[in-house]
Amino acid sequence: MKIAVCVKQVPEGDSRIDPGTKRLDRGGEGALNAFDANAVEEALRLKDSTGEGEVVLLSLGPAKAQDALRKALAMGADRAVLISDDAAAGSDLVATSYALAKALERESADVILFGQQAGDSDGAVLWAAVADRLRLPVVSQAAEITHAGGKLTVKRQTEFGYDVIEAPLPAVVAVSDAINEPRYPSLKGIMGAKSKPQETVTLSDLRVEADRAGEQGSRTEVYALNDPPARADSKKIDDDGNAAQVIFDFLAEKRLV
């Protein structure tokens, strides 16, 4: 079984938005998006359960996103493809999903996995756009995946409880972070990752037209950055045995009891 995992490099630690470009500052240290580690783990698990196959990582980002890919390779993925092109900078969902779909078409994977959200932009929608472009079934929020007889059975959380959804292969699945506990790369894995294939492709390699990438290919824009509305003065007390009364009085004053 061939499994493609779409991963993203996110800034390590506190992120900031560049006031000039109004884009996320991607200059600092990069890390593998935490939610994507669940997708990599699930891909490795699926590969192990079938006893054969390949786990290929796909990412769209600057050249140094190779670092994040190397971390996922150290977990056990077999190879990585990075779509890296200056012309892709500033791509929104419409443009990103187009480029990713082009790269995924080249791979013809049986299963395409995503993590449930990006830690930097809190985006939690990309997979459905990619699935539509590839004309493949999509299931999101997967909390459990089983594979048998050419189809996946996915259990997932919703606002109302649990759904069980079946999808024939090939299929796109976004996994929730409840699905597994991602493994830490072993020393052997970390050493081995250095010799695994890491390919970099450009938009033209993927035949992505110039007007479908970057800002030109995007349909949204950022106008301004503002400070968030401030919370009114807050207070903090230590319980001296009377805290319940303090809370009660506070609630009474706010007419909440």
């Binding site: 449930q116 106008y223 903090k236 009660f248």
Partner: protein
């Protein structure tokens, strides 16, 4: 401007989040607001939407649309948008709508802005307000072409019952092969008792600081005394202390009650994102350095096992006096 609001339903009810978006759409001006209901046996729901501000409701009523799966809904709405020239499509965020909205964005090559908490007209342009980077910055976002798609953070708007009636129009249902490939084989719904967490005016939530599942009774009793619902953090849901339906946070529900009381909750970003829009936040935690205190109106450094039962008693006494 010609606006369409996706009206999500569960059982025999339109969801409050969708009706809130409908109310918001009605305030934007510039033309009538339409809703769309997609499902099986949903025609009566369409009639109800008129009362909440929809001038027109499109109905896609078909047995193939029974299960709440996104891709058939993309087919229906994409066709509707192409046929009618609707230029703006709005969604209240949910597991289902996030996938519908994103699929639709790809299908129509339409710009999508998500996690919006507001949408306004500024200098003749539609501007979305999006909190970013754990809400440390508010970003003004827009669209460079039509149609535009917006996905709102849940709880951003309250429904407004205007009492009107809507013109109902049936729309054709024609599904792509790949859209019907995924199949719902089972749905297990946990019908929680008491007020649903998203509609509750008061939420009392418990975290790991409670010490064990048995101590959730402290939280339940305070919630009951205040007429509120019980919430839980992902940590305690993952540990099996409390059901998922009560989970508040990035991967659970986003709530905005008038009062949120956090008991033994540290305030990890995962949780903060789901409750920080609450009117008044009270936190009780024994760790003085807990991040929750940074966004609480009243923070108490103390033992939840001591403070919470005392507070419950005080509330009960007030009620009976």
């Amino acid at each position: 401007m010609s606006t369409l609001v996706f009206l999500e339903h569960h059982g025999d009810e339109l969801l409050k989040g969708s009706l809130g978006v409908l109310a918001k759409a009605a305030t934007l001006g510039g033309g009538d607001v339409a809703g769309v209901v997609v499902g099986s046996g949903v025609r009566t729901l369409a009639d109800g939407a008129g009362k909440f501000g929809a001038a027109k409701v499109y109905v896609a009523d078909d047995a193939q649309l029974e299960a709440p799966l996104p891709q058939p809904r993309v087919d229906v709405i994409a066709r509707l948008v192409r046929d009618t020239g609707i230029d703006t499509i709005l969604f209240g965020n949910s597991v289902l709508t996030a996938d519908v909205a994103a699929g639709l964005a790809a299908r129509l090559d339409a710009g999508i802005n998500w996690d919006l908490v507001d949408l306004v007209q500024e200098d003749g342009k539609l501007v979305g307000k999006r909190p970013a980077l754990q809400d440390s910055v508010y970003v003004d976002v827009g669209w460079t072409s039509e149609p535009r798609i917006a996905l709102f953070r849940s709880g951003s708007f309250d429904p407004n019952e205007t009492g009107g009636s809507a013109e109902v129009e049936d729309v054709a249902v024609e599904l792509e092969d790949f859209s019907s490939a995924a199949r719902m084989v089972d749905q297990a719904h946990e019908e929680s008792e008491g007020p649903s967490i998203e509609d509750a005016p008061v939420i009392v939530a418990g975290g790991r600081g409670l010490g064990g599942p048995e101590n959730f009774t402290l939280v339940e009793e305070l919630a009951k005394a205040l007429g509120g619902a019980v919430g839980a953090t992902r940590a305690v849901v993952d540990a099996g202390w409390y059901p998922y339906a009560t989970q508040v946070g990035q991967t659970g529900k986003t709530v905005a009650p008038k009062l949120y009381i956090a008991c033994g909750i540290s305030g990890a970003i995962q949780h903060k994102v789901g409750m920080q829009s609450s009117g008044v936040i009270v936190a009780i935690n024994k760790d003085t350095n807990a991040p929750i205190f940074e966004f609480s109106d009243l923070g108490v450094v103390g033992d939840v096992h001591e403070v919470v039962p005392k507070l419950t008693e005080l509330v009960k006494q007030r009620k009976s006096s």
